[in-house]
Symmetry: C2
Subunit: 133 residues, 2 copies
């Protein structure tokens, strides 16, 4: 029996993947993987996702240089969520140029407030393609 | 404009919700909310999810006593994942009786290894209904 048999991919063949910095424990982002992306991630020891919007593999860091090196792979009780402990390269995980994708916080007035600075202009990060993540 | 307008619920009307201990930063679980669950969570200051398997609201802790008190609500760049910073009551988040749902780790032999102990027998936690989470 292979490890893949314990993963419950959804109807679209995807599993949710939470990425957490292995040193700081900050939650950096959540994305999705299909079987191929998971296989490649394990082979390369770097996060490879499946982009639902672009409907293709998304080699995280390929354009930006902000790779996520895999330190540990964990699976939840239902087998439908993976938790990756990662080493974040370059200090930026979000395509907006921030440390983490979770940069908005709900305030008492029921509005979202940004609490993380943009560390680098996305236009500079993604020279080839501004829409790439 | 309300905070809810920035949330991109999926085709099933759900948004993914990662729960992270606000003190230890451990990732405890991931579940889903619909608008009603999110509204109730904010009102009660306790996590209320939508159970996809049971197709109804899931008042986390209602049976087990293991409530998740909300300390902070964060939203990702795409608006389709919420990160809850929570105070975990009772030291158990997983329906298997463990601290976290992410209790399996991929070993070099490509097998999952459990690395978190069962702290309490689920049969005792869920006296009324063994299948409840």
């Amino acid at each position: 029996m292979n490890y893949i048999d314990d993963i419950n991919f959804n109807a679209a063949g995807l599993v949710a993947v939470i990425c957490q910095d292995f040193k700081t424990d900050k939650v950096l982002m959540m994305a999705w993987m299909n079987k191929q992306a998971l296989d490649l991630s394990i082979q390369k020891n770097k996060a490879v996702f499946y982009s639902r919007s672009r409907q293709k593999l998304w080699h995280k860091g390929e354009e930006s240089g902000f790779f996520l090196n895999i330190k540990d792979i964990r699976l939840d009780c239902d087998g439908d969520v993976i938790l990756l402990k990662v080493e974040q390269i370059g200090g930026i995980s979000c395509h907006t140029g921030r440390l983490s994708c979770f940069y908005r916080r709900l305030k008492n007035n029921n509005q979202w407030e940004s609490f993380l600075n943009v560390l680098k202009d996305p236009a500079i990060i993604y020279k080839k393609n501004k829409n790439a993540k």
